[in-house]
């Protein structure tokens, strides 16, 4: 599959594309594994959302960009770009929905020093002044 354009082009460009793809895929894997470790070890739901956001944004984008370099100018790269755009819009939306559900249920963030018990009780009833 990567040898599709190797008949006409020089092999130097293939080596460069392989190196770029290695760098992108390995850095994407690094961010995905880092986000998963943060998902296990962080102490709170809000801080675990930070780790999940690391997986959703930078890890997925770098990984799929590395696959796009490997795919070349084909329909595969178009579909991978569609996946990147879709994750770019749906991941903050689902994170916002989860955080909104957490705030409306009155779940307290213990890592941010929010240890005041009465302030959060009235926070759950008031809505945002839109």
């Amino acid at each position: 599959m990567p040898g599709k354009a190797a008949g006409k082009a020089t092999p130097m460009i293939n080596v460069i594309l392989d190196i770029v793809s290695w760098i992108l895929i390995l850095s994407g894997t690094f961010f995905v594994v880092t986000g998963a470790i943060g998902l296990v070890r962080l102490p709170d739901v809000y801080t675990r959302m930070h780790g999940a956001g690391l997986v959703d944004t930078l890890g997925a984008a770098l990984f799929l960009a590395g696959l796009m370099v490997q795919g070349g100018f084909t329909l595969i790269s178009v579909k991978l770009g569609l996946i990147i755009v879709l994750l770019f819009f749906t991941s903050p939306t689902s994170s916002y929905a989860l955080a909104n559900a957490l705030r409306s249920q009155g779940v307290r963030a213990q890592a941010a020093g929010e240890d005041l018990p009465e302030e959060k009780a009235e926070e759950g009833s008031t809505s945002t002044p839109s």
């Binding site: 895929i25 894997t29 995905v32 998963a36 739901v45 329909l75 991978l80 994750l87 689902s94």
Partner: protein, 104 residues
Amino acid sequence: MMFIAGTAGLAAAIILGLVRALLGPTLYDRVLVVNSIGTMTVLMIAVLGFLMGRPEFMDIALLYALINFIGTIAVLKFFRYGDMARPGGRHIAREGGGEGDADD
């Protein structure tokens, strides 16, 4: 070779996410882990399509990304309202006189 490295990293990340899903104290931890594992599964389907030489897997990955988003929103709505057919939003549910909301 780079695809095998990416697949191994994604498998390790999915196993770590499963650890948090088993340990997670509340429902929202598990919803968060389901969303995150869904994103990792999209990446894994894409890289397996390259590894096996089947480019049709990109369509499946695109569809899985859509279903992952819809599923997260649906689970959150179900556990907030207890009903999937209820209109979302507090002010809409209060002033809109629908057919089925006899409990308001």
